[in-house]
């Protein structure tokens, strides 16, 4: 399947669009490949296209593959594996043979290096945890001014049930020396050129030992999809997906800060701009620090900017809200551009690292133009921002959406 934006809008108008995207057919400004505020070149270059094992996703770049989940799938509590977003930094995408896959655990601050096969890993006590996996740069394309990078709309994220073994159990077997400081992960994906820095990430020891940090081999009850980390990926609930190493093959315990490009230069946020709770002290500099936990955020999932709702009928605004694990306390919705707010009804609590679905009833909507907004707050007291906290890499965009919706 291969549609560009214009063809898909045409298809929508003639009733060919997915049933779940019904309300999108009316969209005047946003489209199925993203919000209208994305850079024009990004919208023009985006198409719905299929990767192996995936439904058509929004293609931002072919190689390395960066594909985001279309909005309609966010109406589901758990994101289907075949609709889960795909994000790679480097174009060497591995086809891993699970039978011969091995995970090497070692490093200068590990007492007893050892290896695990997939069968051996699966014999360790398993846990399952629901958690949002969100790219640090989700919504980068909405940055004003625009900043270079993958121009993501809203869909570089998903919610899934991850099953695996606690990383702390694996590290305990390696025996941590007293000076253990960071845990370094490498995966089977790689660069085309010898000189390109391999994608390698580290975690502070305290986060690696958190009981929620796991090495997962299952996602929503199925083996991980090949493009989401098969056979094993790191899952760090609450933290942005940059640390969730896919196809992990190596875990090293270091006694000093890891200095590779993807830690030292990339995925850093300026100090003092965000309400940082989880610190990564061994990687901090005077001016910046690695991105760590996600900021509180929400997404309206059944409407896009430019949508039309039928007058005089009961309608709903639906969405999801999430944070880094404090849990969602409240979602407030405004239909008058922020002049007044009323609380939405929260859905089932699927766990503090999962997103929370919410609904807001619009009874007997009168004809007119409305500006619909949703604002989530968490139990730690943090709330989404109304104005972008600009930062050059385009991270942590949790600006409250403003959707123009017509009732007619």
């Amino acid at each position: 399947m291969h549609f560009n934006r214009r063809e898909f809008l045409k298809a929508s108008a003639s009733g060919m669009a997915l049933a779940s995207a019904g309300s999108l057919a009316n969209a005047a400004s946003d489209s199925l490949v993203g919000p209208a505020a994305l850079p024009g070149g990004a919208l023009d270059a985006s198409v719905l296209d299929s990767l192996p094992g995936k439904v058509p996703l929004i293609k931002r770049s072919y190689r390395p593959p960066n594909f985001e989940t279309p909005l309609s799938y966010f109406n589901e509590a758990y994101t289907p594996n075949d609709a889960f977003f795909v994000r790679y930094h480097l174009a060497g995408i591995p086809a891993v043979d699970a039978a011969s896959w091995k995970l090497a655990i070692g490093g200068e601050a590990a007492e007893t290096p050892f290896e695990l096969t997939l069968e051996q890993l699966k014999r360790l006590p398993a846990v399952e945890i629901a958690a949002v996996c969100q790219c640090s740069g989700n919504r980068r394309g909405l940055s004003d001014p625009h900043v270079p990078g993958v121009q993501w709309g809203y869909g570089a994220m998903g919610n899934a049930r991850w099953k695996g073994v606690r990383l702390k159990d694996v590290l305990a077997r390696a025996g941590l020396k007293k000076d253990a400081l960071e845990i370094v992960f490498d995966g089977a994906d790689g660069a085309v050129l010898e000189k390109t820095p391999d994608f390698v990430k580290s975690l502070p020891l305290w986060k690696a030992l958190d009981e929620n940090t796991i090495l997962a081999w299952e996602m929503n009850g199925e083996p991980l999809p090949p493009l989401n980390g098969y056979p094993v990926r790191v899952v760090i609930p609450g933290w942005t997906a940059t640390y969730w190493m896919k196809h992990v093959t190596s875990i090293q315990v270091l006694s000093k800060a890891y200095t590779g490009f993807w830690m030292e230069k990339a995925y850093r946020i300026p100090k003092g701009k965000f309400p940082l709770i989880d610190r990564f002290i061994s990687q901090e500099t005077e001016v910046n620090t690695p991105i760590t936990e996600m900021v509180v955020n929400s997404l309206i999932t059944n409407l896009q900017d430019g949508a039309t709702l039928p007058a005089g009928k009961a309608a709903q605004v639906r969405g999801i809200a999430w944070d880094a694990g404090s849990g969602i306390r409240e979602v407030d919705v405004s239909i008058d551009g922020g002049a007044s707010w009323r609380p939405a009804e929260l859905g089932a609590d699927l766990g503090r690292f999962a997103w929370r679905q919410w609904t807001f009833a619009l009874a007997n909507a009168q004809p007119g133009n409305y500006t619909v907004m949703a604002r989530a707050s968490n139990r730690a007291g943090a709330t989404q921002v109304l104005d972008l906290v600009f930062n050059a890499p385009g991270y942590h965009n949790n600006v409250v959406q403003r959707l123009n919706v017509k009732v007619a």
């Binding site: 072919y62 190689r63 390395p64 086809a95 089977a188 000189k195 820095p197």
Partner: protein
């Protein structure tokens, strides 16, 4: 390093998706851009990052590819690439 190249159990997948539909705008320097950039990434990265960077922005992007990503771009190709990107995908 590129572990998957070295170890027998891990092999690189062939191209996952057909990127042949991606075409750069016609213009002086297009072939030089294609020759230098396409080894590591599809050319849709260029259109995706438009139009909001001026010459300085594109210079910084190309410099990052050389310095951080190790792209073997010849000195004489650098201005040709920056000119092409600025003219065709740049903010005036």
């Amino acid at each position: 390093m590129t572990r998957w190249l070295l170890i027998g159990v891990l092999i690189a997948l062939p191209a996952l998706a057909d990127e042949s539909a991606v075409k750069l705008k016609d213009g002086d320097g297009r072939e030089v851009v294609e020759k230098n950039c396409v080894a590591c990434h599809s050319l849709d990265y260029i259109a995706m990052n438009s139009v909001f960077m001026d010459r300085k922005g594109w210079e910084a992007s190309v410099a990052k590819m050389i310095k951080a990503m190790g792209a073997p771009i010849a000195n004489e190709d650098m201005p040709v690439i920056v000119d092409y990107l600025t003219r065709n995908y740049g903010k005036p």
